[in-house]
């Protein structure tokens, strides 16, 4: 039974939680606010909070300076492509591990996770070299594959944990009802696991969207996603806080909005399926 709490206690909780929440959110809020200031207002001392001349000039400047659309498109292709491809490969693997476990299943799963611990720098040059040899440096498809491989262990693990919550008897019932393996996975398992699959999709989309090692090191003009777009702002040229803020806002806005709309799946996804 949930216990009733006095209004006073609830007020105190609310106040503390909101203060801490806003404090944690503040850097993002401040960045968004700054993006609507002029450069002079952006560095004014004392800082201006809400009362300044709101302007969208920074956004147009950033758009002129670089082709935001292409970076955005690259990010969508790379994050979306790698996640979808990962799911397609991971669903059958996770089915096998969850419903036909053998003595080695746990070892395979742990081994998969351990590949995630291989330091990327340790294999940077070989991958770099392979990309040059294959002529796929600065290529979106190459990045889709690489990011898929990086996230695959996590996708398999998450799907495995979600699938394990589904009773095996239901899949056996489908088998008795005359479903082939393909039909069993397509019509019974997948619909039942939709919430888990959605969480997995979302989380890995975000991880791929924010991935900043391979995307920075393997792209130049053609395939560069938003991580590279924003990194080009790391060398300051004169007054640039407002423009930096505008660019930052544009880089994180799609994910923030996505996160806002799919909070429930995301919260579930963020726990990597590991905690119920």
């Amino acid at each position: 039974m949930a216990r009733s709490v006095t209004t006073q206690r609830k007020t105190i909780n609310t106040t503390i939680a909101w203060i801490i929440g806003l404090l944690i959110f503040f850097p993002i809020l401040w960045t968004i606010l700054t993006s609507f200031k002029t450069e002079a207002q952006a560095i004014s001392d004392p800082p201006l909070f809400l009362f300044f001349d709101w302007t969208t000039e920074n956004y147009s400047t950033v758009m002129e300076r670089s082709n935001y659309g292409r970076f955005l498109w690259n990010s969508i292709i790379i994050a979306g492509g790698s996640t979808l491809l990962g799911i397609i490969i991971a669903v059958p693997a996770a089915w096998s591990m969850a419903f036909v476990p053998s003595k080695r299943t746990k070892d395979i799963l742990l081994w998969m996770l351990s590949t995630k611990m291989l330091p990327a720098v340790g294999v940077l040059y070989p991958i770099y070299l392979l990309c040059i040899r294959l002529g796929v440096l600065d290529n979106r498809v190459a990045l889709v594959i690489i990011l898929m491989l990086i996230n695959l262990p996590i996708i398999v693990w998450m799907l495995y944990t979600y699938f394990r919550e589904i009773p095996g008897e239901i899949l056996e019932a489908a088998r008795m009802d005359g479903a082939t393996l393909k039909e069993e996975i397509l019509y019974v398992l997948t619909p039942m696991a939709i919430p888990g699959i959605a969480s997995t999709l979302l989380l890995n989309f975000i991880l791929a969207w924010n991935e900043a090692f391979w995307t920075l090191n393997l792209t130049a003009a053609q395939a560069a996603p938003l991580t590279a777009f924003i990194a080009s702002y790391s060398s300051p040229e004169g007054l640039f806080y407002a423009k930096l803020s505008a660019a930052s806002t544009m880089a994180i806005a799609p994910i923030l909005i996505l996160g806002w709309f799919s909070q429930k799946q995301l919260v579930r996804g963020l726990t990597f399926g590991a905690v119920k």
Binding site: A17, I24, M117, P119, V121, G122, L181, F213, I230, G259
Partner: protein, 288 residues
């Protein structure tokens, strides 16, 4: 419990994932091993043949090696300690009844969505800049001298930035775990005369141990690989060069592939030591 047919189907369906990951692991690893035994300077004469263990010896004896190892460990340990400690407190707070819980939760999760390059740039310039940063304004307001965060306190600054990014994750996992705690257990403890503090240490914290393990594992995986935060803020200067970053510099900046590869092998060994340690814990937890 399955038939031969389903077992062979299972093997077949697992094959793509296993083969891809095996290739992704073995091919570059073999190449890294190969390069690590060669003098290979792409810009200064290319591949100049075998050198035995020279690269390995040089990498370890270089004055930057041990500082890099310790920086790596300090950053990982620092971020883990901060995120787990604050995460537990925050999770308990968010578990209390309040108004607007959903909104507060979104506010707390938000930093996780921010790409590392953005958060590093924003923190570096808008907050930590010694002249125009918000912290500098704040310090001056209280009459103190602004601090050059990223040169004078570089490692703590990076720990702060990374902790800000990972606190949401830790909080969320721990919150989910706390919500799964049976309130009757706490009530039973209360009836047994346990104080709030005793209830926290004897009931809540043990209940969270599995969740904490998971936070530990997942964060360590990602933290060992942090790159953008250092690349953008200090470029490895001021004692923030982690092992990963040191190798990155050897490979891409000095274009010494042999030396960098030897470093890569060390990093892989280090990661494996951590991995074995962590996998033991997680392996146990997977059973439950």
């Amino acid at each position: 419990m399955a038939t031969k047919a389903s077992r062979s189907a299972a093997r077949l369906m697992m094959a793509p994932a296993v083969i891809l990951l095996l290739g992704w692991m073995l091919v570059p690893l073999t190449m890294t091993l190969w390069f690590s035994f060669r003098t290979y300077l792409p810009l200064r004469g290319g591949d100049q043949g075998w050198t035995g263990f020279d690269n390995y010896v040089r990498f370890v004896t270089s004055s930057s090696f041990w500082p890099a190892v310790s920086t790596t460990l300090i950053i990982v340990a620092g971020v883990l300690a901060i995120t787990i400690a604050l995460g537990v407190l925050l999770a308990i707070l968010l578990d209390q009844p309040m108004w607007g819980q959903g909104v507060v939760r979104i506010l707390v999760i938000a930093p996780f969505f921010v790409m590392p390059t953005v958060s590093a740039l924003v923190w570096k310039n808008i907050f930590m800049d010694p002249t125009n940063g918000l912290f500098a304004h704040l310090w001056r307001f209280f009459g103190a001298d602004p601090v050059s965060w990223l040169s004078n306190a570089a490692t703590p600054s990076i720990i702060l930035i990374v902790s800000w990014q990972w606190l949401p994750f830790a909080t969320l996992i721990l919150l989910t775990a706390i919500q799964s705690l049976d309130s009757e257990q706490l009530e039973a403890a209360e009836m047994d005369g346990a104080s709030p503090l005793a209830r926290f240490f004897y009931i809540t914290l043990p209940h969270l141990s599995r969740a904490i393990t998971i936070v530990l594992l997942i964060q360590t995986i990602f933290l060992l690989a942090i790159f953008a935060e250092i690349f953008v803020t200090t470029g490895g200067a001021f004692g923030t060069r982690t092992l990963s970053y040191l190798i990155f510099q050897r490979v891409l900046e000095s274009q010494n592939i042999g030396l960098g590869s030897a470093g890569g092998v060390y990093a892989i060994i280090l990661a494996n030591i951590v991995a074995i340690f962590l996998m033991r814990i997680v392996g146990k937890n997977l059973d439950t």
